[in-house]
Amino acid sequence: MGVLPEWCPTYSSRKKDPVTGEEVFCICKKPDSGELMVGCDGCDDWFHFSCLKIPQKFNELVFSFFCPYCQCGITGPGASSGNLPKTLWRRKCRLPECYKPCAENSKYCSEDHAVSYMCNLIGRVESKGFDAQDVLRQMLQNSDLEKFQKMGHEGVPTPPEGLAPGLFEGDARLRDLESQADKIRTLTRPEIEQQLKKLEAYVAWVKRVNHLLFTSASEDQDGGSSSKNSRALKRKKKSTKPKSICGYHPELRIVCSAEEFAPQYNESEIELYSVCCKLRCPRHLDWAGIQETSLRFQLETLESSLERLALLQKIREDQLKMQVYKELSKSKQA
């Protein structure tokens, strides 16, 4: 059940005036006085435009009407099905003062009104030195229908250089947005890419060290890089799950080649050249993963920042253009 509007009295099924016996209608339960009425598609009663607070000028715009009682399910189809019907309206003509419905496939009731709507519009956009009729003629001459319909789809058109010289160049905010984007492209992004490369190189180095230290001989040979040192170690390290050292270094510095590093490794030392050599290291758990995610995430955010800045530039440019047009139309009025 819906809710009746405040001004609508509660439903009464009365159809006849108890005194005069006249047939009564509407929410006001008065006889027909010749005043404009509309028939409800739900309960077949008739209703005064004025009682329902619908302006008379909407007369032709009613498509299918449902009275307040049907709309909230007291009477009509909604009472049984529970699906409350709503009054539907036809789209009105685009001309503000016209209340006729639109013709098919049109935004206007008639061709006349389409023309006068457009004339109105042109009257508003003209600028000094141009005749309204001229503008209209030019628009119609130089463009086909398709072009005409597309007008305005590409955002606000840029005013000719003569009307607004240096419109974008002199704008502080545009310059600021541009320099922000520049900084990202030339400074921040390369720097992070650099860091990422460094991290990848270091991680590769740690992998190599671990490979040399702990990988079994067969795999070693497959890799084709067997060396004296690893062969010396392979006897010791034989487990199904390859062991590995933590490998964390605070500055990710590669102190020497993996081949030099591996022989110096000694299980009792937990640090070698500031490289963490613990086998299970909860303290530095996932250090490489954290750093990589962080750098990749930063790159992602920078990309979206660039998109953002481009969009803001466009919005600012549009606003500047709008202001130019407004100033032009104002100076014309004055």
Binding site: G155, P250, P282, R283, H284, L285, W287, I290, T293, S294, F297, Q298, E300, T301, L302, S305, R308, L311, L312, K314, I315
Partner: protein, 437 residues
């Protein structure tokens, strides 16, 4: 705030929130929460490293930290607002502690990286830019000074502690364990108290570069999980892994060289033997203590009266285990986050509308009262007298300039509260994204 002056005083002055009034269904899984000092904003740290700031007036997100460079990439461990509301500290499992200037929340203002994951970060009262951080598997806490562009972190340890192990060789008589939790004394601003994994409390006196270990005290052979202090500095509570919250009376000697802890109460769940997830004191002298419980069967916050140690209220309404707690005394709200959904729940005071407010001369009464005409009720008051009375009222001095210093709950309101700037550019970008392809 002036609305409190016009509401029912009995409702306004209730000392703790009563009802679950709001649930923030956050886009990310929240793991810690903190209100700004005056309760304007709520910061939420999330498991993916994001930090969101909600505005408490609109109950909608107003800012996200790290919009241009990302906040953190691993779960947030703790958040701390500066008193003015301008700066926010965050610690995360990605090893960073970052300081954010809410004026430019797009990227961190300053940051410091530790050699492992930090547990908590907190502001101290030592100086404007100093905070303390505890770090995974570290024997001592760190004092970080954010005053410089490259913040400086040094271990919080006294010179005596440095010598101790050397003298006694390998057999350490006192193994304190790792430092896990820390809090600073709100009244004696140079005192910092830490709690360790072996149940020790250590109180330090920090004077510039000099640090002195004033006292160490073992409260129990267990892991300290939280340590909190009341605004007045008289009460302290420790939550530890032995399923107990211990409440102490803290007394500090005048020269700050002696600090005593007197056990007042122990809070335990006798029946279910549950651990406590988090604890929080009410304002000033901490008349109440609130705690969240560990375990999937418990969904409530427990509230005790600290003077008697009795349970006075259970804050209900959620369907899941609650983790972090924050209590704001300006808006009288308690916030807590759920373990499973990561939603944030808000309990607050519900003040019912006063219908008599709709007419100037109405008065609400508890029950029907038989009308009796007062002696002078319908007396004709001379117009002259009435006018005189009104004239008199207009002679009294009025102050149209000075703001009230305290609200009716005793919170200081004459402080300037930092306003998080609106990110208009983001609004525009969101609105225009589709329009411009």
């Amino acid at each position: 705030m002036a609305n409190l002056l016009l509401q029912d005083p009995f409702s306004v002055l209730k000392e703790y929130p009563e009802r679950l009034t709001q649930t923030f269904e956050t886009p990310f899984h929240t793991c810690c929460v903190q209100f700004s000092y005056a309760g304007d904003y709520l910061a939420m740290g999330c498991s993916n490293g994001a930090v969101m700031i909600y505005d408490m007036d609109t109950t909608k997100p107003i800012a996200m930290l790290g919009g241009t460079s990302g906040a953190h990439v691993r779960s947030i461990q703790s958040i701390a607002w500066s008193r003015s509301g301008r700066y926010v500290l965050t610690s995360s499992r990605d090893w960073f502690v970052k300081l954010w200037d809410m004026k430019t929340p797009g990227e961190p203002f300053r940051q410091v990286k530790f050699g492992s994951s930090p547990w908590t970060c907190q502001w101290t009262f030592l100086s404007e830019w100093k905070c303390v951080v505890t770090v995974y598997e570290e024997t001592h806490a760190f004092v970080v000074d954010f005053a410089e562009d490259v913040p400086h972190a040094r271990e919080l340890l006294a010179s005596t502690e440095l010598q101790e192990p050397e003298e006694e060789g390998d057999q350490k008589e006192r193994d304190y364990g790792y430092t896990l939790v820390v809090c600073s004394h709100p009244k004696h601003t140079s005192v910092i108290i830490t709690g360790t994994s072996k149940g020790w409390l250590k109180a330090y006196l920090v004077d510039g570069e000099k640090t002195e270990l004033v006292c160490s005290y073992r409260f129990a052979p267990t892991n300290a999980k939280h340590i909190i202090m009341s605004q007045s500095g008289d009460r302290m509570a420790i939550n530890s892994s032995d399923r107990t919250i211990r409440q102490y009376l803290v007394t500090v000697s005048d020269d700050l060289k002696e600090i005593n802890f007197t056990l007042e109460h122990k809070y335990q769940d006798v029946i279910n033997k549950l651990q406590w997830n988090s604890i929080f004191f009410s304002s000033n002298s901490a008349e109440y203590l609130v705690a969240s419980t560990h375990g999937s069967s418990a969904h409530d916050l427990y509230l005790w009266e600290t003077s008697t140690g009795t349970l006075v209220r259970v804050l209900e309404g959620t369907d899941e285990e609650l983790l972090d707690i924050d209590w704001n005394f300006y808006n009288m709200c308690i916030a807590s986050n759920g373990l499973e959904t990561g939603n944030v729940y808000i309990w607050s005071l519900v003040i019912s509308p006063k219908w008599s407010a709709l007419a100037p001369d109405f008065e609400e009464v508890e029950e029907n009262i038989e009308y009796r005409e007062k002696e002078d009720e319908f007396d004709q008051v001379g117009q002259l007298e009435q006018q005189q009375e009104m004239d008199q009222a207009e002679e009294v001095r009025i102050d149209l300039r000075c703001r009230e210093r305290y609200d009716v709950r005793g919170n200081e309101i004459a402080v300037d509260r930092f306003v998080v700037p609106l990110d208009y550019e983001s609004i525009l970008v969101l609105k225009n994204w589709h329009k411009n392809g």
